[in-house]
């Protein structure tokens, strides 16, 4: 069995000779090194899960306590842009997975291509998020920065208050929804910015051929980070945007 696989994997991506060239001296072999770097990254991601977990817990508690406020708060978000952004981020996970695949198979051209695609998609996500936040700013839905939606300064003040009464809630509860919303999407956006910076540096290094000489582990590890940030959004999207549901053709505003 073993001999057959040796013979079958004799092509690029396997070689021991150049593989040993990037084996750090404190590891016995490439497999151990690979396992170690993956484990370390997963340990880091575990601490990341703890950090986001605290926010998800705060969300759970306040959604339970302030059900009406969270319903009304969520209805202010734009489901269309939230859906587009979910698509963009899931798509960027695919391109990142393809980048890792290209690095493992030592295809420099494709690695640069897929990393660049990932970078553009990540930037598109942040751009859309920025537009959403700008709309929130204009509508007066950012606590402590621009909060006047539930004051007479809002031309639709009476409708806004009537909506609150309908859901047995008050401006303070909606404000708590937006505090949680900006904390979670803000921390997520910070992670996206870090990811974009990393991918940017990696594009440059990939173009120099630094990851297609058998040294594909940095790309693999950075991919783990990128996918993690994607997964956080996979949970944020339904929790933040879809509380109030939506009517087909209407969309949320």
């Amino acid at each position: 069995v073993a001999v057959d696989t040796h013979a079958g994997h004799g092509h690029a991506g396997h070689g021991h000779a150049d593989g040993h060239g990037i084996l750090h001296h404190h590891f016995d072999d490439m497999e151990q090194q690979r396992e170690c770097t993956s484990l370390a990254m997963w340990l880091f991601l575990a601490t990341e899960m703890m950090m986001f977990g605290g926010l998800f817990f705060a969300y759970s508690l306040y959604r339970w306590k302030f059900a009406g406020g969270f319903h009304v708060g969520s209805s202010h978000l734009n489901i269309f842009w939230g859906t587009i952004n979910t698509f963009v981020l899931l798509f960027s996970s695919l391109t990142m997975a393809l980048a890792v695949h290209s690095a493992t198979h030592r295809n420099r051209q494709q690695l640069v291509l897929w990393l660049t695609a990932t970078w553009i998609l990540g930037l598109a996500f942040l751009g859309i998020k920025g537009v959403e936040w700008a709309i929130d700013y204009r509508e007066g839905l950012i606590p402590a920065v621009s909060w006047f939606f539930y004051s007479p300064a809002n031309p639709h003040y009476h409708e806004a208050m009537a909506e609150l009464a309908k859901w047995h809630t008050n401006p303070q509860q909606v404000m708590m929804y937006f505090v949680v919303y900006f904390s979670m999407t803000g921390l997520h956006a910070i992670h996206m910015i870090v990811g974009l910076a990393l991918v940017g540096v990696f594009i440059r290094m990939a173009a120099q051929g630094k990851f297609t000489n058998g040294n594909d582990q940095p790309v693999e590890v950075m991919g783990l980070y990128w996918h993690f940030v994607d997964i956080v959004w996979v949970f944020l999207f339904p929790l933040l945007y879809l509380i109030a549901g939506f009517h087909l053709g209407g969309g949320g505003h």
Binding site: A2, H6, G13, S60, L90, F235
Partner: protein
């Protein structure tokens, strides 16, 4: 899977001293040729009766390095084929549409558990295939699961406290 486990076990315990030294010299030595070409050196240390073609597994257990070599050969391309990536992406897109569809229907208290189930399904697909956990060792799987376990402790214990206080 069982095959890999047995190999992992063979890999874990420290080999007896002479073997280890042999393993190290082989690992450090420059090795321009393909692995099978280098094997005759080691075969000298093992019973000569075994031919490589007939009983490769016994041959592989001869030294630490060869077990690792076998493990490496079988799993160095750990990771799915391109087709798997595209299929997973297709499934993620379907799940995104299902999430929206489920949110468009008012199911009362059922909307949240349905949305969360779909989100978990998406996350599992990404973790298992995009993040290669499905193809990784038990230790990596354990690390990935451990964080989830601690999160569950926080959610279950703390929320049950809030819930029971009324």
């Amino acid at each position: 899977m069982a095959k890999r486990t047995s190999q992992m076990k063979g890999h874990t315990p420290a080999p007896p001293e002479p073997e280890k030294r042999a393993a190290e010299t082989q690992a450090r030595a420059p090795e321009p040729q393909h692995r099978p070409a280098a094997e005759p050196q080691n075969r000298a240390a093992s019973p000569p009766a075994h031919s490589q073609a007939q009983e490769p597994r016994i041959q592989d257990r001869a030294t630490h390095t060869e077990v690792v070599g076998d493990y490496r050969a079988a799993h160095e391309h750990h990771g799915p084929t391109l087709k798997v990536y595209y299929v997973i992406f297709g499934l993620l897109m379907i799940l995104l549409v299902v999430t929206l569809g489920a949110a468009a229907i008012d199911l009362g208290p059922l909307n949240l558990p349905i949305a969360m189930t779909i989100a978990v399904a998406k996350a599992v697909l990404i973790v298992m295939f995009f993040m290669h956990v499905y193809y990784s060792s038990h230790l990596v799987k354990f690390f990935a699961g451990a964080a989830l376990f601690w999160l569950m402790i926080m959610f279950v214990l703390t929320l049950s406290d809030y819930a029971s206080r009324g």
